[in-house]
Every structure is written in C-alpha cells, then in structure tokens.
C-alpha cells in the first residue's frame, strides 16, 4: 500500500512531462490528459485515505523510502514519503479541488492556443504540491516548496506577452525566494542542531536542545511561511498574482499553495510548542495579516483582487490559529480545508462572471447579473455565505473555532488576538457583501457602455476572441465550468458541519498535531454571539453603502484609508522606493566601481608602466657620447659600490 504514495506524485509529474515535451501533436487531447492525471492521483489519494481509515488512530502513518538522495558524510538526505492524517488531508484537498479546477479549465481555457502547456503547468503544480505535503524531511519538502513556486511563476506569467503578467510572476518568485531563504536557513540550523532534518528525529528531539535554537528555527520557518502564504510582510505578491488565469488563482492562490505555510507551521508544531516566542510571532503575523488583507479587500474594485485580499485575510486566520499551538492546529487545518472549498468556489464564480462579461474584472462595471447567470449566482452566493460564517455553513464552524481559540490563548494576548479575529470577521462580512452586491445586484452598469475602459485594463486575453469594444452579453458558462462550481458549493455548505459534528476532524488529526483545550475567558456561546453581531454589522454597513445607494461606475476618490487600501496600504510603494530603486542604485554604482576601481587599478598599473617605459626610452637619444657617459657613470658606480661593499 505504501508504494501507492509515490504514484500520487508520479501521476501528475508524468502528465506534466508528457504535456510539456509532447509538442503540438498533443494539443487536441492535452487538456484531457491533464484532467486524467490529476483525477488519477485523486483516486490514489482516496484509496490511501480508505486504507488509513482502516487502521486504528495510532498507526495511521505510511512511510515510503525511495532512494538515498544526497549522501555526504553526516548529511543524509533521502527521497522518502510520509503519509499520515495531516498529509492525507492535504492530498485529498489538493487532488480533489485540483481535479475540479482542471475540469473547469478545460472550458475556461478553451480559446487559448497554449492550453496544452497550461495543463502541463497545472500538473506540474499538483506534483510539486503533493511532494511538499508528502515529503518526510525538510529538504525534500523544500524541493516541493520551490516546485510550487516555480509552477506558480509559470502560471501567473502564463500570458507572458503581457508585461504586467511577466512582472507579477517575477515578483511572486522573488518574494517567495526571500521566504525560501528562511526555510533553507532553518534546515541548516536543524542540521547543525540535530545532525539531520528528517521529520521524525527532529520533531521527537526538540526537548534536547536549547529554546534559543528552536526559536531561531521557528522564526526562520515563519519567514518561509510568510513568503509562501502571503503573510505580512511578504504578502505583496498575492495581489499581482491575480494576473494569472482565474483557475490558477482559484487553485494555487486560494485553495492550496498559499496554505503551504500553514502546513509547514502545523507540521513543525513540536518546534513551535517548545519555542513560545516564535509562536507569539506567528500569532502576531496572523492577526496583522487577517486585518491587513481584510482592509485591502474592502477597497478593491477588481473582483479578483478583492478576493485575493480576502484570501490573505483568511490565511491570516489560519496562521493565527496555528500560532496558538495545540489549541489551534486542528482548526487551522479545518479552516484551511473549508476555505479551500468556498474560496475556490468564489474564484471559479468570479471567473465564470468574467467569462460572461468579456473578461471585465471591474465590479463597478457589473451589476444585476443574477438574472443572467443563475448558477454562478447561486454557487457564488453559497460561497459568500460560507466565507462570512453564516450559521450552519462551513465557514461558520471553522472560523468560529479559531476565534474561540484566540480568546482561549488567555491573558491580554488572548483578548487582543480574539478582538482582532472578531474585527476581521466583521470586515470580512463587509467586503464580501460588497462584492456580492456590486456584482449580482443593483442596476446593470455594464449596459450601453463598452467594457475594457482604459482605467480598468482587462486581465484576460481571451477577450481577443470576443469583440474588443462590444457591449457585453452576460451569459451562463458551459457545464464543464459550472459543475465544478456546484461541487465546490456543496463542499462549502456542508463541509464545516461534516467536520465539526462530533469533532470528527479533531479526532482525525489529533494524533499528529495533538490538541489541548485552552481555558477561554468567554463561553463558546458568547464568542459565537459576538461573531454573529460583527457579521450583522459588517453586512449592514455594506448594504447601507452599496445596496441602497447606486454604485458609481467610476470609483469615487474616497477617504485617505480607502486610497491607501487600494494601493495595498502603500506596502508596494515602500518596496518600490526602498528595494527596487535602492537596488538599482546599488547595482549601478557597483558596475561603476567594478569598471573604474577594480579594473582601473589594473589598467592603471599597466598604464603607469607604459609611461615609465616612455620616459626611460627618452634616455636612448642616439648620441654616442651620452651612451659613453652612461657607461662611464656606470663604471664609476660599479667601482664605488665595490669599494663600498668592502668598506662596510
């Protein structure tokens, strides 16, 4: 049974290889190969899952050792997989949602002549992501870690002819690299501390070393997580990543890849448990990000960017939970899964809307679409209710638990974190309602005015196939696109309930993550009540602003905060001024230094020797008598020197 694990990774990898090397002759069937491979690995996942279920809780861990990868003296890195409750959860999420999105893409990318390549990249991503969650040591995890980075780079920049896309892709990779630095340093620290970096030994020996070392490792892991999961301060890439095709945004930048950071933290729980300071840092990052993302989400008019903000903020929730330690791990993962469902659904919905609207992304040019695309409206709506935590839907359970846990952290920290979480819930409700209203309700702002007005450039070139400046004719998307949306909607409706009733999910994961009930200052009921209140407030304000009053087709100037939020709270501008400009100056001056100083010294020496030569050459003036003089002088010196030698 263990041997299946490798197949999980192998299937999509094979798919990627075939699709990318296959050449044009595969264009016709390429996308179906992609779908086949992803669903194949989903099937394997299910089989393995069933196998695990068969075992009793303690022995639900499958290991597969393939071969010794980098054997050097003390440094032994193997290619080995570990399939336990945690990883299998991810496997199912990744392959499941992945397969759905593959299916969706078949329809969505229909008109793109490079569709084969697109599916190749998607498969590559699946393979890397599975490698990430299945790896049995940090170095192998690192491979998956960068692998998904590469896939996301390729997919964000899929439409490379658009400078914006290429830039966004590059930015994403670079920011992630900064995070990867953290991961590699963490691995080095582990190696020096434990002499290994395999999960088993490292996590079981955390007791034997100093807290300082563990804190260092923890912080480095956190840095890595920030990069991958778009947490402050490394969140800036996620917004731009929306340049990629929408299915990519749904799969990579909502459901799976961006949650890798959470996986890393939960997986390394043992380290964080032993390093409270690192944990605190994690919670802080989480709390800050969940507010940051939420605020950004409120101000964006680009539907995908708005959703991106919300992704950021939701992952903030997860990280926050993961930072709370054993209290939160389970709920972090649980929220991760439910979020996977409804956020993916939302993105697909957004994609479907754009598909029907000539790839218009500016919500101010939407409105009243519910009549035209009912399925999209319903699925999107369900996703909406799920994310704001409408009672009974999945978001409600998972998010509520996290808020509880935050309070349960105890002490002032607990209060602060809890309040942040609550606040976040309120803002979430606000911006999601805003999206909902602007898109599906209100008057139809897209009537009698061409889309793709200069200030809202299109994200998708598929427009080239529809008329450029024609008035859009909203229409429902084809089945191949709607079916995945429906499935995901179902998931986002019932997922939470399914997990929480009888704490199924808790008991499932406990053996891996461990669990402890914190002593919450507030009763669970109180928290839920508070959440409900926040929710209502958020929705209310949104209704007041966008439901009752008509939405202006051109964004109003807005308050200072709004304008800041539109620009990702100026964080990008900071990067630009400090890093980009500064870097440019640095490199330019270094180039100058290399040319004038380092090279100059050498050339200078050469030149000076040449000059000396020129001057000495003048002595050779062609007059025999002056030669005689030099001989005479030389003789004199020779004699004098000889005598002198004797004298001294």
């Amino acid at each position: 049974m263990e041997n299946l694990i490798a197949l999980l990774v192998a299937a999509p990898l094979l798919g990627a290889a075939v699709l990318l090397c296959g050449g044009r002759r595969l264009d016709a069937v390429g996308h179906w190969i992609g779908v086949l491979m992803s669903s194949a690995s989903f099937v394997f996942g299910v089989i393995l899952f069933a196998d695990l279920l068969g075992k009793d809780a303690e022995h639900r861990t499958l290991m597969q050792h393939l071969f010794s990868w980098v054997p050097v003296e003390g440094f032994q890195a193997d290619v080995a997989f570990r399939l336990d409750q945690l990883s299998v959860t991810f496997v199912l999420l990744i392959t499941g949602v992945g397969s759905l999105i593959h299916l969706y893409s078949v329809g969505y990318m229909e008109h793109d002549e490079r569709r084969r390549r697109f599916f190749g990249y998607l498969n590559l991503f699946l393979a890397a992501m599975l490698l990430l969650v299945l790896a049995d040591n940090y170095l192998l995890l690192y491979v998956g870690w960068e692998g998904v980075g590469l896939a996301s780079y390729l997919l964000i920049g899929f439409w490379q002819h658009k400078p914006s896309a290429a830039t966004a892709a590059k930015k994403a990779f670079l920011v992630n690299r900064v995070g990867d630095m953290g991961l590699s340093i963490a691995i080095m620290l582990m190696f020096t501390t434990f002499g290994t970096f395999a999960f088993g030994p490292v996590l079981s020996h955390t007791g034997d070393t100093s807290e300082g070392k563990l804190t260092a490792i923890g912080l480095m892991l956190l840095l890595a997580a920030c990069g991958k999961s778009a947490q402050v301060p490394l969140q800036s890439w996620l917004g731009d990543a929306m340049e990629g095709p929408t299915p990519v945004s749904a799969l990579i930048h909502a459901a799976t890849m961006v949650t890798a950071g959470v996986y890393l933290i939960v997986r390394s729980g043992a380290i964080f448990n032993a390093a409270p300071d690192a944990q605190l840092a994690v919670t802080v990052v989480g709390a800050v990000t969940l507010l940051f993302g939420a605020i950004v989400g409120c101000a964006k008019d680009d539907i995908k960017k708005a959703l991106a903000g919300s992704t950021m903020s939701q992952i903030g929730y997860m990280v926050l939970a993961a930072g709370l330690g054993p209290i939160g791990y389970v709920f972090a993962i649980m929220h991760l899964v439910t979020h996977g469902f409804f956020k993916a659904g939302l993105f697909l919905g957004a994609g479907s809307v754009m598909h029907g609207m000539n790839d218009e992304v500016d919500m101010r040019k939407y409105g009243g679409l519910r009549k035209y695309m009912p399925v999209t409206f319903i699925t999107f709506g369900l996703g909406y209710l799920a994310i704001i935590g409408f009672p009974g839907l999945s978001g409600f359970f998972s998010k509520d638990k996290i808020i509880e846990a935050a309070f349960a952290k105890g002490g002032t920290e607990g209060w602060i974190l809890g309040t942040c979480a609550l606040l976040g819930a309120a803002i979430t409700a606000f911006y999601m309602t805003r999206v909902m209203l602007m898109t599906f309700f209100g008057e139809e702002r897209w009537k009698n005015q061409p889309t793709r007005s200069p200030e809202a450039p299109s994200a998708e070139p598929a427009a080239e196939h529809h008329g450029e400046h024609a008035e859009p004719h909203p229409h429902e998307s084809p089945k191949v696109m709607t079916i995945p949306m429906i499935v995901l909607a179902v998931g986002s409706v019932f997922g939470g309930a399914f997990f929480s009733i009888g704490d199924r999910f808790l008991h499932w994961l406990e053996p891996v993550t461990g669990h402890s009930e914190g002593d919450s200052p507030l009763s669970a009921a109180a928290v839920t009540g508070g959440t409900m209140v926040c929710l209502l407030i958020g929705v209310g304000i949104a209704w007041a602003m966008y439901g009752r009053r008509p939405v202006p087709a051109v964004a109003p100037r807005g308050s200072l905060l709004t304008r800041a939020a539109r620009r990702d709270l100026l964080q990008d501008d900071f990067n630009h001024v400090v890093l980009v400009r500064g870097g440019e100056h640095l490199t330019r001056s270094l180039v100058y230094v290399d040319h004038t100083l380092v090279d100059g010294v050498v050339n200078g020496t050469a030149a000076s020797v040449g000059g000396l030569s020129g001057r000495m050459r003048k002595l050779q003036n062609g007059f025999a008598r002056s030669y005689a003089v030099s001989m005479f002088g030389g003789a004199a010196i020779l004699i004098a020197a000889t005598l002198l030698m004797r004298a001294v």
């Binding site: 003048k618 050779q620 003036n621 062609g622 007059f623 025999a624 008598r625 005689a628 003089v629 005479f632």
Partner: protein, 99 residues
Amino acid sequence: MNPVNYLYLSALLFTIGATGVLIRRNAIVVFMCIELMLNACNLAFVTFSRMHGNLDGQIIAFFTMVVAAAEVVVGLAIIVSLFRSRHSASVDDASLMKL
C-alpha cells in the same frame, strides 16, 4: 724616483682620455682619446712590471700596442666610410637611430 708616481700619471692620462671621449665631438678625436687611454694602460703595465720585477707587464704592453694598431685600422676604416657618406666626422650627427 718612486715608481708609484708613474701610476698616478697613468691614472691621470686615463682620466683625460675618458673625459675626452665624453666631451669631444669629432670621431677622430674621440678615437685618439681612446688611444690615449690605452697608452695610459701601457704605462701602468710597464710600471707594475718594474715594481714586481717581472717582465709580464712589458710583454703585455707590446701586445696592447699590436691590438691598438689593429683597432686603428678597423676604426679608421669605419670612421672614414662614415665621413665619406656624411661629409662629417661628428659623432653627434650620427644619431639616426634613437628611442
């Protein structure tokens, strides 16, 4: 008379000759100065031979004369040909090659 004085004389002659080489322009004169130096050498040889009481120095003096004579032959030949082609025996005019 103390033979050492002859040595001083020869040294003096040698120096005069050398100086002549350095300051005179006419090749012939320069050459004569060189001959003078050789003669100074001869004087020294003879003197030393006297002091040591062996004849080597005097023999050498003969040899030197022979050599000097040969030198004159060659030297004059060269200088004359130079003079004929340039109509000047000045060593300073002969400075085509420099630097």
